[in-house]
């Protein structure tokens, strides 16, 4: 069995360049639904695209779209960092 080097962390902690799979969204259901509709849902691959200037929300790449998420929200999203894949995003 291949060694599993993945680990869990919060969305705001993903190192730049690595891909992660969203595991859990720890927000009230209403907010979770709100995020789901723009593609942020468990099972989706997400990676850090860039940081915003002036400490603004970080920008993530989800299913080919660039989405900015504030830090407080990113803290509520649990992800599993998989290996550095380098493959085209889903």
């Amino acid at each position: 069995m291949k060694a599993d080097r993945s680990y869990e962390c919060l969305l705001c902690e993903i190192p730049k360049g690595s891909a992660a799979i969203i595991e859990e969204i720890r927000l009230p259901k209403l907010f979770g639904d709100y995020l789901m509709r723009i593609g942020i849902e468990p099972g989706t691959v997400i990676r850090v695209s860039r940081e915003s200037p002036l400490g603004g929300p970080h920008i993530y790449r989800v299913r080919g779209a660039e989405i900015a998420i504030r830090r407080e929200t990113a803290r509520q999203i649990l992800v599993r960092v998989t290996d550095f894949s380098g493959a085209a995003d889903a």
């Binding site: 927000l27 209403l30 907010f31 979770g32 639904d33 709100y34 995020l35 789901m36 509709r37 723009i38 593609g39 942020i40 849902e41 468990p42 099972g43 989706t44 860039r50 940081e51 915003s52 200037p53 002036l54 400490g55 603004g56 929300p57 920008i59 299913r63 080919g64 779209a65 660039e66 989405i67 900015a68 998420i69 504030r70 407080e72 929200t73 509520q76």
Partner: protein, 616 residues
């Protein structure tokens, strides 16, 4: 065969950034009307389909939505319209669902909710040109089969593939969707379903263009990003200020000349005065706003269509958070420094209803260009032209700057106040999609400008004209010996004198009182009013306006007057636009009362303080 034209209603729906509005504009050209849905601030946009032979087709452009879960006002409205439960709107006969073909799998998750409504639906995969250009493709037949509804590949921007739309609309086939739909409550299964459909339809996603990301490397650069942003904002602001102002000035000049010319063709008297000073002046007051409105919307249009507006919202987000708002409020709010009227209209880009209301509420505090004439006049009359900080800052410039700052602080404080009490909103997770950059098209900009101008003229225009006429009546009646009275003896003159005791604590006299009354219409009017009053008063007739003011007002009163203008709501156009954008009278009235009270209190305090200081 019956030649009677059928009437059909077709709803156009789709996610934000799908190019839905471009399609709508192309299908309806300029035959659109804009109104508000009852009870909400969502805009209702209906247009007549151009070139339809068989039927009269009305297209309803619904707001961009990701789903119909009724999470936001936009979704609730879309839901109501589609299910035919929106009062005043006909039940749609069919639906055009517009999605971005370059983001197909994400956008397809809207399909189940729309199909569930049960109306004949045509799914339009927009941006065919981009899809092909970037190496993407999809099997339309398979997709249509999987979805159970007709599908077409179009480009709203280029105008290709649109005959499919007319064929669909004009066909009499009531093809109700027949797909097995996933459970709608669970967002995840919709997403999953969308991906499976995409794969089953041989969807190959396009390769994202590198230039768009490279552009973000610059525009969202940690250092250069904010600098470019500031430059862009300054450029917009400066253009509206200078170009907008000059065009407005030119327009005003032209309108005045026309008015004078008309005056020579009509015998002098009450009627002539009514036409020229009343109606024509009112109409000019409305038209004069157009250059600034058009210019601002041109800029906002370019920013929005190109995709830069989302980046601007990001850069200013942190700063805006401190006053309880978010980045989306920044650009519209800043443009209020030129003129609050188009700025408030531009605030529709703020989706959060409470944030939008708060931003609209504080917009008039931003020192708009209409305040400048009275500021300049009073500063020049009462302050010496001396340097304050060496050659960098003179006394007069410092005073002007202080007044600008005053408005700014009042805006921030009010925003803070509102957002922590009445307009407090449960902090939605801030998630903003950054669309890819694209070139704005002249066509969409043109339609947008025409649309906004028409809106302004119709709504604000009628209110402004009405108030202008009322003011004319008050200033020209009652007749004295059958002739037009002096300003002091007119109805408004009486009003001014009657309210003198109310404004005495501020150091104001009845002449200022008349000025305050006339400037309720528009701030810059007070300069003309002062000119008239002091010009016809035997005591000040021989002095120029500045000398007359010095003669008549104490320094405390002068300071109080500019402070009053900094805070008071004196712009009928703004009130009219706020009323329209909030779809109620509550907010403009509240704004008027709040700002008026603040102005009164601040002016009173200023008069007190300055009078004391002056004696020292």
């Amino acid at each position: 065969m019956s030649r009677e034209r059928q009437k059909k209603t077709v709803a156009v729906v789709g996610p934000p950034n799908s190019g839905k509005s471009t399609l709508f504009n192309r299908l309806t050209m300029l035959r659109q009307t804009v109104a508000n849905y009852p009870g909400v601030t969502v805009e209702q946009r209906v247009g007549r389909l151009v070139g339809s032979k068989e039927a009269e087709v009305d297209l309803i452009d619904l707001p961009g939505i990701y789903n119909l879960m009724a999470f936001s006002e936009d979704e609730r409205v879309a839901n109501k319209v589609l299910t035919g439960t929106m009062p005043g709107v006909a039940v749609p006969d069919a639906v055009l669902l517009v999605v971005d073909s370059t983001h197909l799998e994400r956008h397809l998750s809207l399909v189940p909710a729309i199909l569930k409504v049960g109306l004949p639906t045509l799914v339009l995969l927009n941006m065919a040109d981009l899809l092909a250009e970037r190496g993407g493709s999809v099997d339309l037949l398979k997709l249509a089969g999987n979805l159970g509804v007709p599908v077409a590949l179009i480009s709203a921007v280029k105008g290709t593939g649109l005959d499919a739309v007319s064929r669909f609309i004009e066909s009499d086939v009531n093809h109700v969707p027949q797909t097995v739909l996933p459970i709608l409550q669970n967002g995840a299964s919709c997403g999953q379903w969308a991906r499976e459909i995409g794969t089953a339809s041989a969807y190959r996603p396009p390769i994202a263009p590198a230039w768009s990301r490279k552009l973000d490397d610059v525009l969202l650069h940690k250092f250069w990003g904010p600098i470019i942003f500031v430059l862009v904002v300054l450029a917009i602001f400066q253009s509206i200020f200078s170009i907008g102002q000059s065009f407005s000035g030119l327009l005003q000049r032209l309108l005045d000349l026309t008015g004078q010319f008309a005056a020579t063709r009509i015998s002098a008297g009450l009627f002539q005065s009514f036409l020229v000073d009343g109606i024509w002046r009112g109409v000019s007051a409305v038209l004069v706003f157009l250059p600034q409105i058009l210019l601002l919307f041109l800029f906002v249009g370019i920013l929005e269509d190109s995709g830069y507006l989302a980046r601007a919202a990001l850069i200013s987000d942190r700063t805006m958070q401190r006053i309880g708002l978010n980045g989306k409020s920044f650009v519209p709010l800043l443009s209020a420094y030129a003129c609050a009227v188009p700025a408030i209209m531009a605030m529709r880009t703020i989706e959060n209803r409470r944030d939008r209301l708060a931003t609209i509420f504080i917009a008039p505090f931003m020192t708009c260009s209409a305040r400048l004439p009275i500021y300049t006049l009073m500063i020049a009359a009462f302050l010496p032209d001396r340097p304050l900080v060496g050659p960098f800052l003179g006394v007069r410039a410092a005073a002007m700057l202080a007044l600008y700052l005053l408005g700014f602080i009042a805006a921030l404080a009010t925003a803070r106040l509102l957002k922590s009490s009445v307009l407090k909103s449960s902090s939605l997770p801030f998630a903003l999609e950054l669309p890819e950059y694209r070139w704005p098209t002249l066509r969409s900009l043109g339609v947008r400008l025409f649309d906004r101008a028409k809106l302004f003229l119709k709504n604000a225009g009628t209110v402004i004209l009405l108030v202008a006429l009322v003011l004319w009546v008050l200033a020209h009646l009652p007749l004295v010996d059958g002739r037009v009275p002096q300003l002091r003896d007119s109805a408004i003159g009486h009003l001014g004198r009657w309210m003198e005791p109310l404004i005495k604590p501020l150091g104001f006299n009845w002449k200022v009182g008349i000025g305050l009354l006339t400037s309720v219409f528009a701030r810059e009017v007070i300069v003309g009013t002062f000119g008239t009053i002091y010009g016809t008063d035997p005591a000040t007739r021989s002095l120029n306006l500045q000398e007359a003011l010095r003669h008549d007002l104490s320094p405390g009163a002068a300071a109080a007057l500019v402070v009053f203008f900094a805070f008071a709501m004196q712009c009928t156009a703004t009130l009219a636009v706020v009323r329209r954008e909030t779809n109620s009278w509550k907010w403009p009235i509240l704004q008027f009362l709040y700002m008026g009270s603040l102005a009164y209190a601040a002016a009173w305090l200023t008069n007190l303080t300055v009078s004391q200081l002056w004696r020292l």
